[in-house]
Every structure is written in C-alpha cells, then in structure tokens.
Amino acid sequence: MTILSGLGGAAPVHVDLPRENRSRAYRWLLSPGLLYLGVMFIVPVGALLAMSLYVPVPGGELGDFQPALHWQNYVDALSQFWPQMVRSFWFAAIATVACLLIGYPIAYTIAVRARGRALMQNLLLVLVVAPFFTSFILRTIAWRQILADESFVVQAMLWLGLLPEGGRLTATPFAVVCGLAYNFLPFMVLPIYASLGRLDPRLLEAGADLYASPTTCFRRVTLPLSMPGVVGGTLLVFIPAAGDYVNASLLGNNTNTAMIGQVIDARFFKVLDYPTAAALSVVLMAAILLIVAAYVRRAGTEDLL
C-alpha cells in the first residue's frame, strides 16, 4: 500500500488551524529548504539570464565571454534556431495528445473497470510504473533497436505492405514522437488514475438511473470529474517532452527531427557558445511558463499542487 497508495492520494483531512498555530517553528522548517532552492535555483536562473547577455572577450579564446547587456543575442539565437524551437513544442504537443489517447483507457481500466479487485488493480499499477525502474536511456535504446531497419518489426511491416518499399521507422519524426509518447506515458496515466480513483461509483449509477446512456454518463460525469487528472497529466508530459533531447538524438536524424534541447546541449559543449545556449534556455523556460499559465487558467484548476 505504502508506495502505490501515495499515487492515489489519500483524502486530505480538512482542519481549520488556528491563525496563531503554535510557535513560529515554521521558520526553522522552511529555512533550510528555501535557502537551498534560492541558492541552487533562483540564483542559477539569474546566472543563466546574465550569461544570455554576455559578449565574447575581444581577442579572447573560444568560450571566453565577459558580462554585458547584449540583447541582440536573443534576436540572433531565435533567428537561427526558431525551427528547432517550434518543432520542440509541436512534437511535445503531438506526444501529449498521443499519451492522452493511450493513457486514458489505461487509467480508466485500472481505476473503474478493475474497481474492487485490489490484486488486479495493484498488478496493473505496478506494470504502469515498471518503466520507472529501468533506465530511461536503456529503454530508449531498446526502441531504437526495435525500430531499426533490420529489426523484426520493420521487416514484418515491409512484408505486409504497411511500409512502402525502402521505408523506415528509425531516424524519422515518427520515431521521435513515439519515443516521447512512450517515455512520458506513465506521467499521464498516474494523475488520471488518481482522479478516477476518487470518483464515486454512485454518481454513475445515478446517471444510469436517470436513463443516461453509458456514453452520456462518461461524457457528463466521468470525464468532467477526471479533468484535474487530465490537466495534471498533460502538463507532466508536455513540459519534459518539450525540453527533451534524448529521444531526438537517439531516435531521430540531424535534419528534420532536431529539437531545441539538442541545440542547447551542442551550443554549450561542442560550440562553446554559452550566450546563445543560455538565451535559448531562457526563451524555452519563458515559453513553457506562459503556456502552462495560460493552460491552467483555461482549464480552471489552479490548485494543482
């Protein structure tokens, strides 16, 4: 129970704490964690912002930069790498939709259809979180080999005519999106499972008693009540997918699958062009925060955490 029940989320006990709740002990509880987040998150983001405006040291070596306020870095970075930036969000969006389409039936099967059969539920849940227990990189490489040109899957698809002559799966946008959808699927299933698990079955019975068809019941009762899970799940998939570069570099090619994470990595480590890498990181972060804020406001669930 311990580990899996954490996923379902126990019902919180609501208590109105007195305004002057005991001492000011919270300061001692908060300060170490906040200090850490300040020094290791806020300050580094500041360092990233500063670095995005650096200019090369005149006559210096490759990778030597000095502080400046060179806003032109952003214009240069975006005019050069906007296709990769747009592609990242596009791939992440497709992968998120795919995760929702594959993940919702999984969550529904576990939470609603297997309700009351604890053993079955736990077995399925363990299988859903199983990917967490094997290395993310090893699994992506497994996909690379499953989708490789000489693999059984591709040979079978060629034989069946599902792939055109000389067609391939690896090194295509399809492979990258599949990899993204695969890797982040559990993050979609678990929040939806959690919100469906809290669904009161009597509501569905009431719907059926009032002559709603199963489809209507689903559309008018189940789906709206599982929305918090859907919203949480889409965010948990979209955010890491947009910044991911492992799938793109292991399953993609260098031309029409390059994502922004790959560019940031290459600018930092291969080209030693820190300001461009930093500027792209800042833009990625800002864009994601804007998208998340807009989405959460639209979905109307601001108390996600």
Binding site: M1, L34, L127, F133, T134, S135, F136, D265, I288, L305
Partner: protein, 265 residues
C-alpha cells in the same frame, strides 16, 4: 451483444497500452542474456555469461557505483529538506505561503535542459570544478519538489487530533513529533525517498550538463550508445528493475498482511 463488445473495447485498449509500456523492458531484459560480444545489436544466442560477470565490460560497474553514491546522498539530503518544507506548508499558516508554493512548483515545471543549463551557468560563472559534488547538488534540487509533494499528501491526511491528544497527555512538542507525527509520516517519507532515489538514479539530462568527466550509469549508457552498449549494461538495468519490483511487491504484501491482522483482531 453489441453492448458487451463495446464494454470490452476500453479494457482491451488499456491492456494493450500497458503492453506497449512493457515492450522495451522485455527487450532490455532479453538482450541481457545475449551472447553479444562487443555490440549488443542482434541476437546471437542465449548465455548467462553477462549475468555471471556483470563488471566484465570496462567502466560499467564504476558508472553504476557512481550512480548509487550520487543517488544515496541526493536522496538523504532532498528527503530531509523536502520533508521539513512539507511539514511547514501543511501545518502552519504564514504570510508568503503562496510564494513558497510557487518556489517549490517552479523547478518541477522547468524542463531539465533549462535546470541543467542554469546550474551550469552558475558553476561556470563561479568557476566550480564539475564532478561528483555538482551532480549531487543538482540532483538534490530537482528531487526536493517531488519529495515535498509526496510528503505533503501524507501530512494533509494526518489527523491533527492525534498530536493534540499527545500534547494533552503532557508530551513536549519534540516528543510528540518523534512518537506520534514522525511514525505516522514514515510511509510517506519512505515513498518520497524511493521516488527521489529513482529520479536521481535515472537522471541523464541534468547530470550530463553538470558532471564534467564524472560518469553515472545513464551517462555511460548514452555515451556508449554510439559505439554499441555492452550487454552488461542490460544486466544492471534488468537487475535494478527486478530489485525495484521486489521492493514494491514486498511492501504491498507486508501492508496487506498487516491490515489483515488488524482486521482479524
């Protein structure tokens, strides 16, 4: 009949989805038994050699041990800091609470590349040598938020009447914490620690930005992907999978047995 068929569609899709999740794991486990030689790309025959000699390939075990060291340290530190934050957030009302919540939410909603890049920018500016400690520091950062969320759920489901009862029985606040609050929170803390360890152990992107020449297991696998991954990496991956599965199933069995005993009484 039509209705029955319709009812079967969703569970079939669900089970197919679960199978989709398991395909690459099965592949990874199967190829740990491959008589592969240097590159583990095609099936060449069954062997137990890789399992008998998991450290056979150069650097595999070194990278694995590095990941364990980082994982243990990052887990201990992030669980400690995160649990304290969770306690403060659920049990105390104070000004600036929304701000603290935001500060905890932000690292989770920042993509790993950006977290890695920000930390690297800081380490480069301060001319910190990249290596073991920078990796630990980075891992603690992204684990904290997940610990807070996990422990918070547990604290929120805790009945404060129990603590009040302890106080009524003249327990000091510290005694109350150690004898009442902490034991009740322990399952939540354990789940958070397990989550933190698995996040740290499996992390690649943030590690890649902040490790310099220090190599963890995921980094080793990624780097050797171009040359071909030794089957020993599959052995270690499969071993960790079986171990984690055993921990989860074991804890399930223990809890089930305990609750049965409680009902029996």
């Amino acid at each position: 009949m039509r209705l029955r068929l319709g009812r079967a569609v969703v569970p079939i899709m669900g089970v197919l989805g679960v199978l989709y999740l398991l395909v690459p794991i099965a592949y990874t486990v199967a190829f740990s038994f491959n008589d592969a030689g240097k590159t583990n790309l095609v099936w060449r025959g069954f062997t137990l050699d890789n399992w008998r000699n998991p450290c056979g390939a150069p650097q595999v075990c070194e990278a694995f041990v590095n990941s364990l060291r980082v994982g243990v340290l990052a887990t201990v530190l992030s669980t400690l800091l995160g649990t304290l934050l969770a306690l403060a957030l659920v049990r105390y009302r104070f000004r600036g609470r929304p701000l603290v919540n935001l500060l905890i939410f932000l690292p989770m909603s920042t993509p790993e590349v950006v977290l890695g890049a920000a930390l690297l920018a800081q380490f480069l500016s301060l001319r910190v040598q990249l290596g073991f400690w920078t990796v630990v520091a980075a891992h603690v950062l992204f684990c904290i938020s997940f610990v807070v969320v996990t422990v918070k759920a547990r604290v929120a489901s805790l009945d404060p009447a129990l603590e009040e009862a302890a106080a009524d029985l003249y327990a000091t606040p510290l005694e109350t914490f150690w004898r009442v609050t902490f034991p009740l929170l322990l399952p939540g803390i354990a789940a958070a620690a397990l989550l933190a360890f698995s996040l740290s152990f499996d992390d690649f992107i943030v590690t890649n930005f902040n490790s310099g020449s220090f190599t963890t297991f995921p980094k080793f696998v990624y780097v050797s992907a171009t040359r071909g991954i030794p089957p020993q990496a599959n052995v270690i991956g499969s071993f960790m999978f079986v171990l984690a599965l055993a921990i989860v199933v074991g804890s399930q069995v223990v809890t089930a047995a305990r609750s049965k005993r409680r009902v029996g009484r």
